[in-house]
């Protein structure tokens, strides 16, 4: 677990004091992928870089598993935290396998063990070791280099990985592919990941939690659904974008919105798993067709009926979510017109 407690960072620039990060408090839970998002200059990258002390906070306290990072040996701290950056940052004079095994080498692992680990990780990120291990970074595409960057961050099996816009410099199709792969890899390795991006789609796709920043301040921190359904300020609404209505449907689960099972009379009707999103439930209901009752049951993972949702309320939620999306899209179009 990582905690930031009233953390600030100020720079002196041309005689002026710039508050890059302004009194940010945040808890990043173990095993979570926590996205830091915001426009450029919002302080998201600086906030992340203070965790492995590439920047030093001017005020506040950062702890990793209860230990104050400023009290730890900086080299040891960094070796225990994986780090991925936008341009890959691969060492051009080392082979792919040597790049992946860099931290193990710094930690003094034996050569054959490093090689084994590098090959294992290359497999995990979808680069067959036989084909890629002995090549040099310049022989790889941008997307492949980013995969090597991710493999390198995982090499010494650190509990925490920091990712600074890791997929920002690759083309959109490759980016989508890398994002999906990161989800797959994260499901396999279950790290605490701090992920900096300015791409809201990426944040929603990957984040268990999203911290939205602007002008060095934390504007809102919560689940994707929180940001969509309970935006703290109009800025959050604006930032989450014009298709947020659809996204809300995607990130709200049936279990969150169903009426408690006891409050309605037991009737027949379909049962849908509670972890389905409203959007998925809509598709599922359309597939199953008419049932003759006025709603459906929602079950927990054990199959127990925990709630009931009438079609009427279901439809209302769909309508509500879709409404403002259209309106915002219209406004955005209007703004885009030349005055």
């Amino acid at each position: 677990m990582i905690t930031l407690d009233h953390v600030s960072k100020t720079f002196e620039s041309k005689g002026r004091t710039v508050r890059a990060v302004d009194d940010v408090s945040l808890t990043i839970g173990a095993g979570q992928l926590h996205v830091l998002i915001g426009p450029s200059g919002s302080g998201k990258t600086t906030t992340m870089r203070m965790i492995n002390r590439l920047e030093t906070p001017t005020a506040g306290r950062i702890t990793v598993d209860g230990r104050d990072v400023l009290a730890m040996d900086v080299v040891e701290l960094r070796r225990s935290i994986g780090y991925v950056i936008q341009q890959g940052g691969l060492l051009p004079h080392l082979t792919v396998a040597e790049n992946v095994a860099m931290v193990p080498r710094l930690l003094g692992w034996q050569r054959h063990r490093r090689r084994e680990r590098a090959e294992e990780l290359l497999g995990l990120v979808g680069l067959p070791a036989g084909q890629f291990a002995d090549r040099y970074p310049r022989e790889l595409s941008g997307g492949q280099q980013q995969r090597v960057g991710v493999a390198r961050a995982l090499a010494a099996d650190p509990p925490i990985v920091l990712m600074d816009e890791p997929f920002g410099a690759v083309d959109p199709i490759t980016r989508k592919q890398l994002q999906r792969e990161l989800r797959r890899v994260q499901a396999a390795v279950n790290k605490t990941i701090v992920f900096v991006t300015h791409d809201i789609g990426e944040a929603f796709l990957l984040g268990d939690q999203i911290a939205l920043m602007a002008d060095g301040r934390l504007v809102q921190n919560g689940t994707p659904a929180d940001l969509l359904r309970r935006p703290a300020t109009p800025f959050v609404t604006a930032f989450t974008g014009e298709d947020r209505g659809l996204r809300a449907l995607e990130y709200t689960t049936l279990a969150e919105v169903a009426d408690a099972a006891g409050s309605v009379p037991a009737t027949d009707g379909d049962t849908l798993p509670g972890e389905l999103s409203i959007l998925e439930a809509g598709r599922e209901l359309a597939r199953r067709g008419e049932t003759g009752v006025d709603g459906f049951w929602v079950s927990d993972r054990g199959g127990r009926k925990t709630g009931y949702l009438s079609y009427r309320r279901f439809a209302a939620m769909l309508g509500e979510a879709l409404g403002p999306a259209g309106a915002t899209a219209g406004e955005a179009d209007g703004d885009a017109l030349p005055a």
Binding site: L77, R78, Y83, G89, L91, P92, H93, L106, R152
Partner: protein, 219 residues
């Protein structure tokens, strides 16, 4: 004075001991001055790249030093060091320092910031960053500086003769003062041959020294 342009070959054949002595002095002056240049300039460049305050004065001195004529450097040292092989070596070392320092400094400073950031983030200590990242990546540029210094000093070493430092310049000076074409060419031609072959040989060596991952694709 140039009755036969190849009469210098005859001179060398008839005076092999003299010629070899001058040649050996010349090679010694060059190699030792470059060696000392590397030993002084590379650490100085590392220091300048680490300590921001030193960077400006050191590069400034190196750049100004580059513009002072070599002959003037030799002359300026006479009051302090006198004449002979050693002051000549000192002057040549100063001349070697300049290109080696500038190249090493620029080479280290031009390492990709993203690579440095990633390496720091992975937990390299200061020494490891230098040894495992900065020096290997700067090595082609550093080596180019050494190559420049070596070829340049082969030429400048001819001036050592003016302060009694020996070398092939001695033959050139003798030839000029006695209007003896054979002597003049016995000094000048080997200097030219030495400079060209060294340039070519170091060019070859450079390809070996550059880390494989940095070589242009297809080589």
């Amino acid at each position: 004075m140039l009755e036969d342009p190849f009469s210098f070959v005859e001179y060398i054949r008839e005076n092999p001991d003299d010629f070899l002595r001058f040649l050996s002095q010349h090679v010694q002056l060059t190699l030792l001055s470059v060696l000392f240049g590397v030993v002084i300039a590379v650490p100085a460049a590392i220091l300048a790249s680490r300590v921001g305050l030193l960077a400006r004065p050191l590069t400034g001195i190196a750049s100004v030093g580059q513009t002072i004529p070599s002959l003037a450097v030799l002359g300026l040292l006479i009051p302090f060091l006198g004449i002979g092989f050693r002051p000549a070596l000192v002057a040549l070392t100063i001349q070697a320092f300049l290109p080696i320092f500038l190249n090493a400094y620029v080479g280290i400073r031009s390492v990709d910031r993203a690579v440095l950031d990633a390496a720091r983030g992975m937990g390299t200590s200061g020494g490891q960053l230098l040894r495992m990242v900065e020096l290997p990546l700067a090595s082609p540029v550093i080596f180019a500086g050494i190559q420049t210094a070596t070829v340049q000093n082969i030429a400048i070493a001819t001036l050592a003769a003016y302060i009694g430092g020996g070398g092939l310049g001695d033959l050139i000076l003798q030839g000029l003062s006695t209007l003896n074409g054979a002597l003049l060419f016995a000094g000048a031609v080997p200097v030219a041959v030495l400079a060209i072959t060294t340039e070519l040989a170091l060019g070859r060596l450079r390809r070996w020294i550059v880390p494989e991952g940095l070589r242009p694709t297809g080589s």
